[in-house]
Symmetry: D2
Subunit: 362 residues, 4 copies
């Protein structure tokens, strides 16, 4: 079947997240990267040159090798890039520039973004594949309201992803009342410029990531909220977080304590996780994992280095499920979620695959 | 003033904790190490030889250099060591051997121990300097009941120490109702034989430390319990923990969420911590820090590598105090506590200094 | 083509190296693992149970998941295992046990081993795929001399592999006169029992690996020696090493200074590496990489984490080639070689594939 | 004795190296820090404010606490700072700015610098305490030639220090003919802006440090060269280096292979090291260690984390001395040297103490 591939651009293409978009889109049957954009500093250079330092270092950090056809593409200035001939823009610029450029692109085409710039707008959903795809309807509200041909669909913060994913089935089936979460986050989440310096995490823990806790608390409620066809009413349980950075390269680990609305058994919790998302993964999207959630019963799991790549980095692995108190309402568990795959580039691509399937892209 | 020093033994002297006892007792004005004991394998060797491998490696891991007078002492078999001419035994053997040898010593003299073997017995207090020294009275019950001249006084688990220390002033002044804690613990807590292997913590987190969570939950309640002259009634608030191991050499970091019985302000919490233990530290014990708790207002503190040695490793450093909810009952914070100083050898020595001052040793 | 697969056993199957054999042999078209053996402690257990701790931890460290058909195989006692119905034994037990069990197996079948027990015997070659396969002839001498149906073919030490591989084309074409090498070795080389403890390598370097330097010096000369149909005359250049252990999980990095017999240009060195082994890799053995040596011109390469998996962990990556002095005789470079793939399990399997092709197995 | 302290400035005071100067000069009996200077960005701010980020993070990385009297000093613009009322400037700015500002200061007073800007000028010595203090005479040539009241005295590169220190006694007594060195360097050498990012060194090695190898090769020859009263003739032995960066916080480890002019015994080498610098350390300068070189016979030493702080970070620790070949000419060893103490701030201060003693400062 010789379907024509949709035209895609990656904006922020020279950074760590941008490179992961490029790696994940290589040979994608539905999306073809036809434009690359970045800041003015890189504009006008061939992509390979733009990521090569004066000392000759090729700063490629995506999986596998830099795709040869992209190496020779000329990088455009993100602010000046014309999106009128595109079907989708994958954006991973910083929040400041995103605020400016994403609406320009959205006038013409779909924008799937890792930036937080528009996450908290009333007409913007935070789509998590297999979890709240009914929120997709809000994109039409957004188009109407803003008069855009396209839309902006940001993904949640990488730390929110695993938490929302594991809470979703519990919330639907049993009701979530209260959540305490402590994260141990990978250094890749901070990118490379400047990134986390070794002096701060070797034999150390950074106890603070500015803005992160508030993001996770707010986003989790929004993702698990109800969409009434017009707006999203955030879930009403409270979420309280402490976010830390540790000497781990990839993958966030989270220790979760949750209070449920009604008492449940261990088997009910495990069953809820194991069944979650089966109808979604059955659709066979290219970037979707076999299971959204994997439950590992080994008491020493999940371990971030061993589990972050489950399902190609798209599966959240949970373990260490224990009752918290003895009334069946309280449970505690740990999870590992890949921050730069499901939590960034590949997560956005999976959303795009779904929106394409739903006729919202292309 | 030429006071005679009390005669002390260190049992488990060849291990990591034992070496830290030796380092901390070097030149101590009140205690003189006159005997060293360990397992049968080391018995009969000079101490220096006992810690030197066949390959010629001198396995000394205490602060500073191995004290010269101890290097030539002959290591005794812990099971056969005569304690009748001793004033105090510092014991840091594993729980199994501790069960057997500590009562033998306690027939004759005080036993201050890092082992968990007797921590949960009804007639055994868990003394934390400056915090629950009124529990010392239980040692007399123990002596009466067991017919010993001495007693066994274990210190709490190293992960309990910082948590109990920071909860104590809150519990006394405002009442603690509920505690959630996630720990990020140093590898030194597991010692060297076998210890934590690098393959398990480089670019990784170990999500499970067998028995640790239960210990912290139970010990915190006991330490903060009331002693009525006869027994300790555990504090009634619940404590729920998740304990993990990270690639940090020394010092435990803990993220704490606490619910209080009554609403308080930020200043009240900080004030409670800052004043805590002033009357205790004023006594001027040699191993006591200037402050039991230090509050650091820098949002990026406490950091374990920068803060673990505060007060010679005897001060618990807290920071990141934030309200949890808006009714003044919920608070969250982070703490750093030195696991092998306040949490082990030096913590035991400080207890001994107090018991000596109170006339219970010597 | 329905070729019958040869019957293989993995001895030392429960350890780190053994698991890597199992992972690499999964679905191998030529070898079928029909027996697993280990020490007496594991004998009689199902494999899955043998690698599961009392705490429920499944200690599987091979790539991917534990193959289901192996999970249920009963582990045999290595000392008692009958090799008479096998075609090949892959052995990765410690040197002591290897000394005893490998000759028993070799009476019946081929033994490919990671153990050093027989490496230095006169009738035992150290085969490196694509490099000295003419030494295969010595295996026949060994069979005659020892009266075995099979033979013992050990692979070299993992640190020798990358060094010998990169020196081989230089030695053949230009003559090697003198080699200085400093290694920065991964912790996986020490396995898991006890392995390298985190306290020794976090924020630290271990400056000594007992026996390692002597092995590399001796083995490099043997591998690059001449086989005259009867015995191997070691290469006559001297090799001097310093071997260290660093906080890297997998992959050895080596800094090499080499003096050549005759002056050469940079292009000659690079050309020699690039062409090396082309006729060997052209044979298309399943486990062979596309290139034995890859030259990376980026001045910041090779980097062990980025380059160790080149060619499925079977390619040695070199870089930082610089003249050492200005007479064309001296050169310095760095290399990265995967210690547990090309340097252990997969390297042995590639040797087996070649010996099978040559009619020496089966 | 109430000697008046000399007036000192620290230029580059806000950076990592500058802070180490401040920490090391706190309570110094001979030097009083009266001015602090940095780039324009910090100029005009109180020092404490200049090192505090917008997020409230106090970026103090010196040993101990920030001295209170310095916290309130106003930071000056390095380019505009008046040195006419100073006795000595400790400079640790980057090479570019150093080129400009150091001569301005040197018109008026002594400049002791960690920058490489003037290291390779003919009239500039590279002073290493206790090693080549006879090169001090070149400072007078410099003053004459440049018409300065003061002078510029840079310290060598941190990686040169340990190598030159351990070669010096060998060169004097036996003659050095050839040196091969591979370094494993700490991340602190790269400072904090931007410093080495964790993504580059966790589970990895950086095989290249631009310019470092050339510096070490050239500087070692200069330091060990002969001063004939007029100029320094570099030592004529060749030095060849490979410099790498590893996940170590502080302290450089170096593996050295050396060829000597004449055969010597192991005892002669050890004796040469042990005696080296005794007359220098006997002078009792405040920052000098008890021994310039410490020989550790434990085969597992030196280990960088255990040995970097020997002599307050001013002692080079050597070990693993082995013959390289059997003719007594070749030797190999490892060394650990503290890169930010002896190799930077404290090394400069020790030079200043000597120059003060010699009447060249003040």
């Amino acid at each position: 079947m010789a379907t024509k591939r949709l035209k895609a651009a990656v904006v922020g293409a020279t950074g760590l997240a941008g490179q992961q978009f490029l790696a994940a889109l290589a040979n994608h049957p539905q999306f073809q990267v036809v434009k690359l954009a970045a800041s003015k500093r890189s504009a006008g250079k061939r992509y390979q040159d733009a990521i090569t330092t004066d000392a000759g270092q090729v700063s490629w950090y995506g999986d596998g090798r830099l795709p040869a056809d992209l190496a020779t593409l000329t990088v455009q200035d993100a602010e000046a890039m014309d999106a009128s001939d595109l079907d989708v823009v994958f954006s991973c610029v910083e929040s400041g520039p995103a605020k400016i450029v994403e609406p320009k692109y959205a006038e013409h085409c779909a924008v799937i973004s890792t930036a937080s710039a528009y996450r908290y707008e009333d007409d913007v959903p935070l789509l998590l594949p297999g979890l709240n795809l009914e929120h997709v309807g809000l994109l039409e509200r957004q188009q109407e309201k803003r008069g855009w041909k396209g839309f902006i669909a940001p993904n949640p913060n990488c730390t929110t992803v695993g938490l929302a994913m594991t809470l979703a089935p519990l919330h639907r089936l049993f009701g979530v009342k209260r959540v305490y979460m402590t994260s141990l986050q990978a250094v890749s989440g901070a990118g490379r410029s400047p990134g986390v310096i070794a002096l701060d995490v070797v034999d150390n823990i950074i106890p603070y990531i500015p803005g992160e806790e508030e993001k996770v608390e707010k986003e989790t409620q929004k993702i698990l909220g109800d969409f009434d066809g017009d707006e999203i009413r955030p879930a009403r349980f409270s979420v309280s977080c402490t976010c830390t950075r540790v000497a781990v390269l990839e993958g966030h680990t989270e220790a979760v304590f949750v209070q449920l609305e009604r008492p449940v058994t261990r088997d009910e919790v495990v069953g809820a996780w194991r069944k979650f998302g089966a109808e979604f993964t059955a659709r066979g999207y290219r970037t979707a994992p076999e299971h959204l959630i994997e439950v590992n019963e080994d008491p020493y799991r999940p371990q971030v280095r061993l589990d972050r790549d489950a399902g190609g980095g798209m599966t959240t692995v949970v373990g260490r499920l224990r009752p918290d108190g003895d009334d069946g309402h309280g449970w505690k568990y740990m999870l590992v979620s890949h921050n730069t795959k499901m939590g960034a580039a590949k997560g956005c691509i999976l959303v795009a695959e779904h929106l394409l399937d739903q006729g919202l892209i292309g």
